[in-house]
Symmetry: C2
């Protein structure tokens, strides 16, 4: 009986500690920063995923890293003043292409011309004077899906971000798969064309998945198709540089024959690769996000068909492919999940 | 002070429990069974990896599963009588191609013609009347390497068994990567040739890695080379069925030009794939075992060269490729690690 009483007392104390802590936690927010090849999004996010305030600016991937830092500093100061939040800001989470969680550097990012080793964590720690956690942008997105998105309740899934490049993040046994050197999940750079006419990649290799399956990859496919086909297409009046993922997706949704064919080819390349990735990781689902995913079933259906056709028998009809709910500034939920740890 | 005394008493009790248990554990052994496409190896193994007794028999992959069970029962009885061990046998660990740890079945094994769903765990639980743990043969090998082999001290590595087929097992964050359906690590069935003349695989797909990188794959390559080349070769006098991994490795070590060329081609295909697998998992090392790995540096050097040439920059010169120490009956150490759990 004495023993039971002690137990009850301990439980009561634990419960009251939890309650205090929960209230405390609602009063906390983090800086969440998503650095993309084209835009950088940033915002203030609470622990339950409420975005208090957010904005975006052009990354300037071709200009020096220092200019990016200056823009980020100005934008975050502006946002903080405008937000006038009551929460205490406790940390910073950053997703960026090729960000290495172990070293704190952006390493060899094919779509950011800032050098081979960019000291991101160190620079932002100085700027914000807060604990900074960085990760590969797609790894951050995977954590965001796990905590706030379609990955909730799943233990094994893979996120693919189909933006300027192709990023990926792997959740295995309910945790982010980081790898031996902090660089797991670079599916943009698996080879999908071993032939002599494979496309050159910014990373120095040839035939990388992201040279086909990404906004940039689709632009290359569309330009080949414009040269090859004679069909009318709204895309014929748009330059390579001006052709965004939104424009391509909209053209496909409007029934543009070149956009539709490009999506079919892109989806087939993606589906064949998903079958190979399944043979590595046996996931419950693939979750697609980023520019190309806006095309919905135009991308999804041929991707699933190609994947199923190439899946090893043991995986057939067992693996879902879905499109994320996150879009626009809600992509900062990934970095937010990272910051809360 | 009273609190400290209670703590000391508890620690003393725990220590004496641990000591008793350690002695007890040395007196335990397990049945370890490695089912291969050609041979099945079995033995009795202690917790520290000592093989008390072992033997092997022909699997008979073409005959019914019931015949295999009969052979296994007879061989285990014979072994137990001959062994006359003092240890208590507490469990059974089994590695088999396409064994699913979740369902207890061998599922769709390309190189065992026993049907799509073989109730392995159930059958062996009845036979041995002991707890049975089954796993994909290469997953078991990965656990064996982690516990007793070259993987000791590593948290992230991948084992590839280059035997009749190609199996793989992934250790991630120090644990076996199992996947959502218990079937992670089927690298034998990733596609390495998307072209129209890709080789047919027993699994129903075309261009699978194991149709090139395995003993069977090398036989196919050698038969193509015998047809194509005019060089003298000891392999010209050997039939397809009779050409084992040992024969091929020996010919290469003797300088046979066809065997050497076949190893070079096989290693290049393997190396290119390892680069893609690294882009998924960012491992510290790949550990090769099985028939083909006996060729040592003849396999290893061109594999590493091809991998490095195709690695994404962030992984270059960071990933080791090594050959396992386990060979012959010591491959049962994997299933033994599995049984001890």
């Amino acid at each position: 009986m004495a023993c039971n009483m002690i137990l009850v007392m301990l439980l009561n104390r634990y419960y009251s500690f939890l309650c205090q802590n929960a209230t405390f936690m609602e009063n906390e927010a983090v800086w969440a920063i998503d650095i993309g090849g084209t835009y950088t999004k940033l915002g203030l996010v609470t622990r339950n995923g409420a975005i208090l305030k957010s904005s975006k600016f052009s990354t300037g991937a071709g200009a020096p890293f220092e200019e990016f830092l200056k823009k980020l500093e100005n934008e975050s100061k502006r946002l903080l003043t405008a937000a006038n939040i009551r929460q205490k800001i406790i940390a910073v989470g950053v997703g960026a292409p090729n960000a290495n969680a172990n070293t704190g550097h952006i390493e060899h990012a094919a779509n950011l011309r800032w050098g081979d080793q960019v000291p991101l964590k160190e620079s932002l720690t100085r700027m914000f004077d807060l604990p900074v956690t960085i990760a590969n942008d797609a790894n951050a997105s995977a954590l965001g899906e796990l905590q706030f998105g379609k990955g909730r309740g799943m233990e094994n899934f893979i996120v693919l971000t189909l933006g300027t490049g192709l990023g990926s993040g792997i959740i295995s046994n309910g945790q982010l798969l980081v790898g031996a050197h902090g660089m797991a999940g670079e599916l943009g750079h698996v080879n999908v064309d071993p032939g002599p006419s494979a496309r050159f990649c910014n990373c120095g290799l040839k035939g990388c998945l992201e040279t086909y399956v990404s906004v940039t990859g689709m632009r290359r496919t569309i330009f080949e198709l414009i040269a090859e086909m004679t069909d009318d297409s709204a895309l014929r009046s748009i330059s390579f540089e001006a052709m965004t993922g939104e424009i391509i997706s909209k053209a496909a949704l409007d029934g543009d024959p070149i956009a539709l064919k490009a999506f079919k080819m892109t989806a087939e390349t993606l589906g064949v690769q998903l079958a190979d990735t399944a043979a590595h990781l046996d996931p419950e689902a693939f979750i697609l996000l980023g520019g190309l995913s806006k095309a919905g079933s135009i991308l999804l259906e041929p991707t699933i068909a190609a994947m199923e056709q190439n899946l090893f028998a043991a995986y057939k009809n067992r693996i879902k492919v879905m499109i994320s709910n996150t879009s626009g500034t809600s992509t900062i939920l990934g970095p937010a999940a990272l910051a809360f740890g």
